[in-house]
Amino acid sequence: MSARHQFSAAAFRWQETDGNPDVVAGNCKAVTNAVRDIYAQDMTNVIFGDLYRRAYSLVLHKRGEELYSAVEAAMASEVQALVGSLAVAGPSGQSFLRELLATWRRHTAAVSAIRDIVMYMDRTFVPATGRTPVRELGLGLWRDGVVRSGRIRLRLVEAVRLEKARQEEDGVVGVPGSGDLVAGVTEMLTELGADVCHEFMEAPTVSS
């Protein structure tokens, strides 16, 4: 009997933090701070092992709900900040596309780093409760918060149209890297969903 007690105490070392609201809040806060740092590409204080452990502990102790909402909110606010910086990006078509694609790459890299941290949530809590996995969450935020947002949408359509027109004028080899820009945009839109790509690539022909 006593041996059994000792044994389970060792096996459930994780439970030290169980149910303590301060610890739960602290763990959520650490993960959301990490989301912010990852988007800022400031990795000095981001220790994977520590964050994975916090996220794991939350999910294990039935706090997946809190963790999920915290991560979702943190990602949404970071994407909002990215839209803000894009809205003031250079006015010309090419530099806008370049800026948009660089930001998109930064976003996808951040999403995969975040997914790695909360992998245990993605693997257990998400399928059990029918939530959207973190990667899809990131794509959705970008699709609805960025490319479909009023400020970006029209500029994107216009910039792509200009870029295509320029290509036709100069021939494909005319401007180095310009073909890559349209290809990059197409790749991004395709990743957001086949319908999204249609929505954008058809728009210029409709308006002309």
Binding site: V46, F48, Y120
Partner: protein
Amino acid sequence: MTGKGEAAAQHREEEEDGEMVGVVKLISAEGFEFVIDKKAAMVSNTLRNMLTSPGGFAESRDNEVRFPEISTAILEKICQYFYWSLHYASGKETAEFPIEPEITLELMMAANYLDT
């Protein structure tokens, strides 16, 4: 003759697994350090993500991971399992991986954590 081919194959393998070359240090709750091949550590999906994630986490810079919730005895067993898995997971050879009943629960908790 065959030696040359083998060397070339091995070389190619090393190139493909550029990120898997080298060692990583795993530190148990009590502070014991286990130095194992990265290739072995990557049997664990958690460690794989930790070491290869694009973000550049502290761990992928230092190649050092702390496990404050895994005891030395369990971490040792886990390291043994990594190497066992590397060797036998292909199924060409088979061998039992011995697990003492008294550590089963703790080992399973750790395996769940490490996604192994």
